[in-house]
């Protein structure tokens, strides 16, 4: 059974319908890239999947026993976070909140999990540094480690490479691909179709016309052909 099944979903933003009658499903182990023009509703769709917004119609079903507190999320950075006085360790630990329920303090189990994920993302040596003093790439690693504390199953990433330089960007993509190979299902919003086509197993293109299918099918489709012809010309058109 699919991890997530979306049926006839419509989304509105400020009373303006941005997505209509959307159908797709995500299975365990998939790497789905959501692409589309600015304002096509990519972030709105992700927030709806996360339960932060209500859809105007349609349904989102979770399968494979996926619970609400087993989802990891890497949001776009907010203004608040830019000068937030917090250590790396404090932020990564806060990813464990979902699994803790009402329990007020972190136990050895949560601390071990945070430690493990900091090691996994190679940020253990900066765990006592202040978040606001880190580079953009390091900050994204911290937020990714936090997301991994919240999940073993499903990661949702909202433009994880925006504002990063090219070298750090490709590191980030490789990191995400590694996590996917380790068995974590990935749903990612991206501006960058070249990278989406390179790494993803499935593509969801939203906008004036909707495409959902495997990467190979996408390359043969109308939108994919337009992309292949103009190297991302579709996005800029």
């Amino acid at each position: 059974m699919a991890l997530i099944t979306v049926k006839n979903l419509s989304l509105a933003y400020d009373q303006l319908t941005v997505i209509e009658d959307l159908n797709f499903s995500v299975s365990s182990g998939d790497y789905l890239c959501i692409v589309g023009e600015n304002g096509s509703g990519k972030t709105t769709l992700m927030k709806t999947l996360l339960g932060l917004r209500k859809p105007s119609s349609g349904s989102i079903g979770f399968g494979d026993g996926l619970k609400k507190n087993e989802i990891g999320y890497l949001p776009q950075q907010t203004v608040v976070q830019k000068d937030f006085p917090a250590s790396v360790r404090e932020i990564v630990l806060s990813g464990c909140q979902g699994r803790m329920g009402m329990s007020p303090f972190y136990k050895a189990e949560e601390k071990a999990l945070a430690e493990e994920n900091m090691k996994r993302l190679d940020i253990l040596d900066i765990q006592n540094r202040c978040y606001r003093d880190l580079s953009g790439g390091q900050q994204q690693r911290v937020l990714l480690a936090r997301a991994l504390c919240a999940t073993q199953k499903l990661l949702l990433l909202d433009e994880p490479v925006s504002g990063l330089d090219p070298r750090v960007t490709s590191e980030m993509y490789n990191l995400i691909a590694d996590l996917n190979r380790e068995g974590i299902t990935v749903i990612m919003i991206s501006h960058d179709i070249t990278m989406a086509v390179k790494y993803a197993s499935h593509i969801l293109h939203i906008g004036s016309h909707i495409f959902f299918g495997t990467r190979d099918a996408y390359l043969k489709s109308e939108s994919g052909k337009a992309f292949a012809a103009g190297e991302g010309g579709l996005i800029n058109a």
Partner: protein
Amino acid sequence: MLDKLAMYMQYPFVRYALIVGVLIALCSSLLGVTLVLKRFSFIGDGLSHVAFGGIAIASVFDLTNNMIIVLPITVISAILLLRTGQNAKLKGDAAIAVISVSALAFGYLIMNIFSTSSNLSGDICSTLFGSTSILTLTKSEVWLCTVLSVAVVVLFIFLYNKIFAVTFDENFAKATGTNADTYNLLIAIIIAVIIVLAMNLVGSLLISALVIFPALSAMRVFKSFKMVTIFSAVFSVVCAFTGIVISILAGTPVGSTIVAAMAIVFVICSLLEKE
């Protein structure tokens, strides 16, 4: 000078003032960090003006214990202001401005039209700038204040990790299964209680200082949320204590002396950061 201080300490009203002042400063600084980071620095100002409106209504009805009216009104306003959060049509700062100036205007109007007091402007001045009321506390008021403060501190310690998660990233917290709305509601209620308590100390115009100065000072110097929280509490308590002592010895107004002390600490911390 120490003799003079020792002499003053024999009076219960001086001891009460110190106890209450320090407790209020402690509570307000704890939540200050969250408010500053959530870009709600002026919520203290807004809510205290609402509380001022509440006091006006209470004085019209000639209630001896105006807490009965002031506390619920302030709590409700705090919930309305903080709950709307990021998704509101009327954004945070504008909403606070609207509520605070209306409450101030209507409060003054009501007091003017219905007041029975012979010294209206004196009453209003002391509500706005903090009066000598900190020095005229009764034993039961001191107890009420102590109980509420201890409750706030205990609640804060238990909610500390949740408050951090919700402050740093509300959407992440919600998306991963933390009940962020409930914690926001609790934070709002705690803040309202603190504001009502703190009005006794510095009056409604200076209350923002009590909320933001310790947090801002600690944020200049320290790098983790835990250290910022702890030192904002320390700064606040030290300033409140010093401020009250100075005001007793030098005969200056209590509220403005405390706030002046906090402003000086803030400047020192800002200078330390540069190096």
